[in-house]
Each structure stands twice: as structure tokens, then as C-alpha cells.
Symmetry: C2
Subunit: 226 residues, 2 copies
Amino acid sequence: MPRAGTKSPKAPAGRSAANGTAADGPETEGPRSKRALILTAAIEKFGKDGYEHTKWATIADQVGIGQTALYHYFESKAHCLLTIMSLELERSLQAFRDVTTDVDRADKALEAAIAAAYAVSPREVLQMRILQSHMDLLATPRPSAKEEVERLKARALVRDIENEWTALIARGIKARDFRKGDAHALATLVLAMVVSVWRWYRPGGPMTLDEVREMYTAACLRVLAD
Amino acid sequence: MPRAGTKSPKAPAGRSAANGTAADGPETEGPRSKRALILTAAIEKFGKDGYEHTKWATIADQVGIGQTALYHYFESKAHCLLTIMSLELERSLQAFRDVTTDVDRADKALEAAIAAAYAVSPREVLQMRILQSHMDLLATPRPSAKEEVERLKARALVRDIENEWTALIARGIKARDFRKGDAHALATLVLAMVVSVWRWYRPGGPMTLDEVREMYTAACLRVLAD
């Protein structure tokens, strides 16, 4: 697998749905499927050069397949982008559930959720950046059926994630770990703080992900503290 | 002027640079210039239907001019988008300066800055939404010279705005109104909280702008409070 260097040493191989293992349909499955390679190339290009600046044909070149083969997996650049977005949302939701399910106290669960949000590989940083830069795409219907399927999937995942954070905060309010307030509005605010990092964070930049986690956890707890 | 109903009753006519009065070059100035009408139509369409979904030709139709005339003002849809973004950034920066310059205490200046951020007309809401949805466009060079001029202008304004918020917070830290910390990192966080609203806020939605201002001011002060 090319670009293995961008894979997280933290994440076990099976965990990342964006590897294509979990989400492949039957016709694109198997060791000879190019789907995972296309996604890897697209995440690199969309994440580093920008979606708008990436020509769809260069993805085919990079993977070493023709346009027809590329079309077999993704019917358009937007279809590939929306797929990257829904896979990343799926990964984020799963990571949230993994670390919060068995934690009784809401403030500890919140800390765990924020820690999980920043315990990401360089590839996942790119996926988050791509996701956050194109959230507006989810607001309006897509012209093609395949794109629309991914858009609706991504929208449903955004709602699931919001609901999970809202439930966590509502639990904390009920237990008086957090101050009284509209749990959904507070979840929206806290989530916005957590994901805003992907607009500016760069590996090797002025702040490490550990520093980010520390600062943003403190800020979120201050906003919610009773 | 069409769509006068979308103009703020709060903002005096001369204040909004997006009216085109301040930023028009000499060749497009004057009462017969269609520039302000094109911007108004584009803000409506990009803000409500989305930039991607708006065909550039429909802007010409809406304003009642031909493609050639449209091209005289903006050479592309992206050129128009980047212009809307830099005009909105200019307006935001000016609003920040207007309300904070004469305020000695940093916490009071912060409250005034947040209040100004949410004291916006429906048209300005659309401008902020367009701006926040396309910030990633500012990261990479544009293929055309005119687009690149607007992109660099917008980038410089983003930096100016970040610097103003950073200076305000540094002042508050020095005066011990705010807790110790990296003023620039805190400014980035606070600014991200304030602008995150434009991703979900809709006039007539679950929260009014007054409720938003109250909640987000309290949250920002909690994050910064000593």
C-alpha cells in the first residue's frame, strides 16, 4: 500500500473505515479493489492542495488507472469527496462511542471524547480538514443519485454525532456536573470549538495535538462547568 | 434598488462596504454601475442556494445584463465570491474597530466586539455564511490575477482581524481581566466560537441573534476569565 507513512501508528488497521475495508460494496471489494488507493490519493490531494485545485484526472494518474476504471468506483470528484466526508464522520462517531460508552461521569466522558477527537493520525487530520472545509455541501441536494446517497448518509451521521454530544451534556446537566442550559445549543458550541482546530492545525505547526487537547478540553469544561 | 428588504434597518447606508460604494474602482463607479446589483444577487444566491449550486449565468439573468457585461465587473464566479468575502471581512474588521477603540477595559471591549459580530442584517448573515463556508479558498493561489488580488486582500484582512482580537486579549491578560495564556491561541479559539454560529444560524430559527449573543458572550468570557 503506497503512502503507508501517512497511516497512524495508533490506529489498528481494521479500525479506520476510510481504508475501505468496512464500507466497500461487494463489487469493489477484495484485494484487487482500487477503491482504498483512490481514497488515499484523494485524501492527500484534497487535504493538501485543496478540493477545488485538484483535477479529478490526476487521481486516476496517481493510482495508475484509467478514467473508466476510476468512474467504476466514483462517478465524480464530488462523489469521492462526499464519500471521504461520510467515512470520516463514521470514524468520528465510532471513536466517540468507543471512549464514552463505559464512562459514568459526564465530565470524564467529555474529556475522553475530546481526547479521542485529537488522537488522530496525519491522514485523519487531512480527513477532518476536508470534512470541515466542505460541510456546506451537505446542505443542498446533489444532482446525481450516488452523490445524494453519500450526502444523506453524511447528514444523518452529523445528526447522530450532534445527538451523542447533546445526550452527554444533558446527562452532565442532570447530574449537576455541568451548569443548566440548552443541552443541544451547548453541544453545538462545544463541538464547534473542538472541530475548529482543523481549520488551522498543521503537523509541525506552532501547537502539538497534545497542547491542543489540553487547551480545548480546559475551554470546553469552563464553558460547561457548573 | 431591488431586494431592499434584505438590507439592515440598523446599518446606515454608507457603512456596508458590500454595497459597492467604497470598493468600486473608477471604471465601475457611478449610479449606472451594475456592480452593487450583481453583488446583491450573488449574495442572495450563494448564501441561500449555495455557491456550488449557483450557475454564474443566472446572476446575469437576475440583474438583467448579458454575460459580457457581467464579465466587465467580475471575470468569474470565483472572482465574485472572493470579492464578497473580502468585502465582508472589511466590514467585520471595521465594525470591530468602531466598537472597541474607545473601550478601556478588555472584557468590556470583548463584549462590545461580540455584540457587534451579531448586530447584523439578514444580508450580512448571508455574507458571513458565504465567508465561513469558503475560508479554505483563501489557502491556495488562484489561477487568475484578479481572483488572486481578492484572495490576497481577504487573507490580509483575516490576519488583521486575528491581530485585533489577539491584541484585545493580550491587553486583558496584562490587566488581569483575563487569565494567563497564549493570546493568539485564545483569540483563534474565541473567534472560532463567534463565527461558528454562521454555519447553523437561520433567521426565524430556534435561537434569535440576541440569544446567540448572550450565550456566546458568556461562553467566551468563561474561557477567558481569570
